[in-house]
Subunit: 296 residues, 2 copies
Amino acid sequence: MNLKALGEDRLLAQILTRLPRARDEIAGAGDDCAIVRPAAGGKLIVLKTDCVVESVHFRFGANPVDIGWKAMMRPLSDFAATSALPQFALVTLILSKEASSAWVMQVYRGLNRAAARFKIGIVGGELSSTPGPATISVSVAGSVEKGRWTSRRGGKAGDDLFVTGRLGGAIKRRHLRFIPRITESRWLTKHFSIHAMMDISDGLGIDLPRLARASKVGFTIDKESLPRARGATIDNAISDGEDYELLFAIARRDREQLCTGWRRTFPKVSLTRIGSLHRKSKVGNRKFPSGYVHFQ
Amino acid sequence: MNLKALGEDRLLAQILTRLPRARDEIAGAGDDCAIVRPAAGGKLIVLKTDCVVESVHFRFGANPVDIGWKAMMRPLSDFAATSALPQFALVTLILSKEASSAWVMQVYRGLNRAAARFKIGIVGGELSSTPGPATISVSVAGSVEKGRWTSRRGGKAGDDLFVTGRLGGAIKRRHLRFIPRITESRWLTKHFSIHAMMDISDGLGIDLPRLARASKVGFTIDKESLPRARGATIDNAISDGEDYELLFAIARRDREQLCTGWRRTFPKVSLTRIGSLHRKSKVGNRKFPSGYVHFQ
């Protein structure tokens, strides 16, 4: 049955009964606004929004459960970059009237699963029709301790640069199934002083220069050292994007303890030192082939 | 110059310098996540997202400043419904690569003006390309005192029903220029116990039954009493939608004080008693012609 025949209210009723609820939810999906309790202990509020668009972020015909999963996980990857805990999500579905309600329910299955994976409640959202491609926008609110959040700024000359996991080739399939590195990120900031961190979404070749610029330093990379996904070339690892791995800068003196602790805690996830930050020099940064840039 | 030629980073740079900043912003637009200070005094967190889609919520060729204004004001109208204070906004712009950067800057002018009108900071967002119609999704976070938030639930048999302003005909022009009734809503909950409240976006004919259902009561309306915008018929007032006025239920004993206080405080905004809530009876609710329903 398509959305036109089913009607918005009946579709919403089906969606609402299945949504993962938040523990701290006072009013949620179905109310005009969501109302939630703030985190205890004067934590800061963290906000992020992101979207996926058919034919840009997923192909027509992709598995709708995967599409929902990716739509939720993309903003969560920014929570990993910030070392923050996501708690509440708002979902906006913008769909053709001809979309089938079964397809919508499958998208929500992916959204719900992804939210439940990190104990997030879906506390509200919006449905809209469009004559264009299906679009899903997800906004997430959460919290972080005052001294613990990370950003692209703060990298220092002399810092080691690390990446989690393996890069390249995600675009083929992995980008629809990835798990944001929230657990790893929270472990990192619990045990170490992470100077700068971000998630790799546009590709290391675009994202690393952004971290360096924000930190006002230069960088050197050993291309040969880049951890590559199976079948990925060095160029793939630099340019493909959609890896959603963490890139971070940490003092060199922490290197040994970091690597030992990581292996013990995350034996299945690789952690690789790929280079270091340094003062900007006349030589400039090693040029990277460009990754994916929107609007190019 | 279109977005393809200008490039995302340069467009972002132009947007970022003009954004209204939030007082409580620690990290904002340009960082992976926005980080903000929670409201003092253990207030609750309020979240809302909404979107506007070209050819659904605005016509191709509409004034881009108006489009940005409406995109921001729509979720703010839900803050009015909840009697909450909006503080932080995230903006997602989903545009064709052929869109002109001048058009985007005008949309942002509308977004910025609307945000500034209520002292809201735009703390982050996202740009994405699409082969389809322009779409703007705005998420807003804010706060409300624990005992003060309102919802559609809580209306009681015997309550008076009031609406602010005048209904009908908004679709022609007013829907792009409206000012959400946040000030009025905050005044209402400061001085009175508002049992149930919502904003009229789909039309009184759809929204009032929703309030009644959520409150588990019936309603009676005096159609002749409906405050109509100039040129609007009774049917327009019931069915047009996009009014963004407040509809609320309040104890009958507060009627006189409410009307006197309102006239003194908001001499330019009408407040009209349109009917009352009552116990559900076999007679049922007066049937309304239907307003605008998405997907119908």
